[in-house]
């Protein structure tokens, strides 16, 4: 009964519903994007009504919200934070900088394409994206989770070598604990 595929499916549906309704966000506030988070959370836009809520540490968080450009120095920390998060976990790339480098397209120390290094589930476009688009992004993520399509973490796990190769290319001194869960 428990190992029955159909019952597992039902459990998945319920769990996906719960995951969708309860999104605890760890905002990695690099760059200017962090300033868009307070209005999103406070009374004007009130993300909490959608179940979106801040988490204090990566262990508790579901969503890693990367708000802006990542230098090679911060990328190391972001990878670390992402690997400390517990499954199921999602990544939202926030702002143009995470998509294609934005205004830092020719900078010598910021990465341009986040999804080469971390599995991004949802991108929120804009420089900066307004709180409305942030909410839209969360809505999209909820939709993906509800359909069981937000499987970035699985992708990361399966293609770990590819991601590692990309990461190590710009972080030559690689000292990081093993990632094996």
């Amino acid at each position: 009964m428990i190992n029955d595929k159909n019952s597992q499916k039902i459990v998945d549906i319920i769990q996906n519903w719960a995951r969708k309704q309860s999104i605890w966000v760890l905002a990695y506030g690099t760059g200017c994007g962090a300033i868009e988070i307070p209005p999103t959370m406070t009374s004007r836009y009130d993300a909490e009504r959608l179940g979106v809520r801040g988490a204090a540490t990566p262990r508790q968080a579901d969503v890693l919200l990367i708000t802006g450009y990542l230098t090679t120095k911060t990328l190391k920390r972001v990878i670390r934070v992402y690997e400390q998060m517990q499954d199921p976990k999602y990544v939202i790339g926030f702002g143009s900088c995470t998509i294609n480098g934005g205004m830092y397209y020719d900078s010598y120390n910021t990465i341009k394409v986040l999804d080469k290094y971390l599995p991004v589930d949802v991108y929120i476009n804009g420089c900066m994206p307004r709180p409305e688009s942030v909410l839209a992004g969360f809505g999209k993520l909820q939709e993906l989770i509800g359909n069981g399509e937000a499987n970035g973490a699985t992708k990361y796990k399966e293609n770990l070598e590819w991601y590692r190769a990309n990461q190590k290319k710009i972080i030559p001194n690689w000292v990081m604990p093993e990632y094996n869960w």
Binding site: Y28, T57, P58, R59, K76, R77, V78, R80, V81, Q84, V175, M176, P177, N180, W181
Partner: protein
Amino acid sequence: MEMIYLIFIIFLGGAVATYLLGKINGVLRDITFLATLIVPAVLFYTQVSIGQTVDFSMSGMNLQWGITDFGYIFAYIVLGLGVLAGIYAVAAMKGKENLGFFYSNYILSIMAMMGILFSRDLVSFFIFWEIMTWSSYLMVVFSGKDVQKVGIKYFIFSAVGAYAMLMAIVTTYSLTGSMMIDSLVTAYPGFDFSMQLLIPILLLIGFGVKSAMMPLHVWASGSYSHAPMAYTAVFSGALSKMGIYGMIIVIVSLVSQIPEGHWFREVIAWLGGITAVGGTLWAVAQDDAKKLLAYSSVAQLGYIIVGVGVGTPLAMLAALFMAVMHGLFKGTLFMAVGAIEKQTGTTNFTEVTGLIRKMPLTFLASLMSIIALAGIPPLGGFIGKWMLYESLVGSDHYMLVIVVFFSSTAAFLYCYKFLFGFFLGQEEPEWAHVKEAPAMMVVPMIIMAIGSFILGVFPGLILNPIDAGLQELGYASTQGRYWEMSMLFNEWGDKVVLQPILYTIIAVFVFFFVFVVAKNFKKTRYVSTKDISSSGEIPKAHENLTFSRGFFQPFLRAVEPLMKHQIDPLYTGFGRGMEAIFDFVRRIYTGNGQTYALYAIIFAVLLLIFKNQLFGL
């Protein structure tokens, strides 16, 4: 031959033999040492019956030895702790120098304590008391560190206590013409009031020093932390209880006979309460485990003194139960500190961290003892605390119960500090090599921890002899009224039933253990304590992230006004003043013949001037 003599002969002979064998062979010495502890203990429990006495005469004084019901309780503590700590000591002191001296001293201490419990007359009581003091003094200075500061402090306070006691004994003899404790008790109500006040106060100074009562506790922190830990377990666990033993006899048998005794007891109870608060607050402020436990001992003895001072049957039960429990858990904790000191070489919380995975059994014993110390059910410390509170509330000591409660709540702080400081927190590579202590050290700790667990569920086991002892002191039987095998009642008949509580806790625990913890634990994998969420940073191996300095700083800031007043400076000031006077006196002797001649002339002149007044001519 009388069994009582035999016990003492074994003790004495063992002490000498261990000392001598210590020069020849280590193994033989250890075996003799353990035998000297275990054989008398076995003899005592099997052959000596309560009430059995031996009389003899020495230089014209009649002396009497024999064990009473009341002394029997303390004999449990002394012999039980003595044997277990002795086994521990053999492993703990291995490789130290001058061990024969240590062991024979240890045996002498145990013998002296047994002697105190056996003494039915004041002379042998005093002699054994002095042997105890001397042997413990030699233990305090055994390590040879800070002898000036710590040893002298202990020595001076013990000496003052002993002189006070001697004065009381001599006064008693001059008043009654007998050295028997019983005759003092019977003659006491007939004394005049100043004597009725003087004798207990003098005796209490003597006993208060050993039981670290408030103004006389100054020696305790230093001495407890400087003696070898194997001995401190006995020092704090059993030896300090001798002060309690004497104190109970003084307060219950003597002072309670007169109407003013009520106020006397109140003062003692409040002194105990202040001792508890002061000891606790200073314990919270310590960074060294030995010091922390030393101050904690002072605080715990404070609770016992509160119980003794209040003196209702329930309070006496509480005090004696706590005395037994304190021997158990504080002995374990001192042993644990000794084990950690042996394995790491330091006892400072700011240096040692993260030993839980290296010394799991020591941690387990410490955890159980700490739970007992904090008074959390279902371990034994709770029983004593519960009875103390109920007795305080029941006997209208409303402010005192708040004071005691404050102290015991603040005790959680140092309890956590002890566990966190040593066992939890970051695992530093510096201590990666640390192994669990040898079995001979761990087993006594575990036995005692289990003992405090059993007493927490079946307090009747130890309340039974306590009850017999209290009846000896003139209390009515309390069994059925205040306690049963695993039930407690207060003055108003409200009860705590311990067994269902234990079963509930075990049932819920097992449920979570099986269904949540164990299942989870298997599925998860261990990560080191460097793998923590520290803002995405990866702490390097040498980066020390342990939080151990200024551990309770906010709390200490809040209670700063309470801790501003210390008794130490007063004593130091007194000492300085005396020194100044002596110094002045010394200056008279300049060593110069001219000056002496001048003195003689001045003296003659003064004689001449005042001769009329002096000689009435």
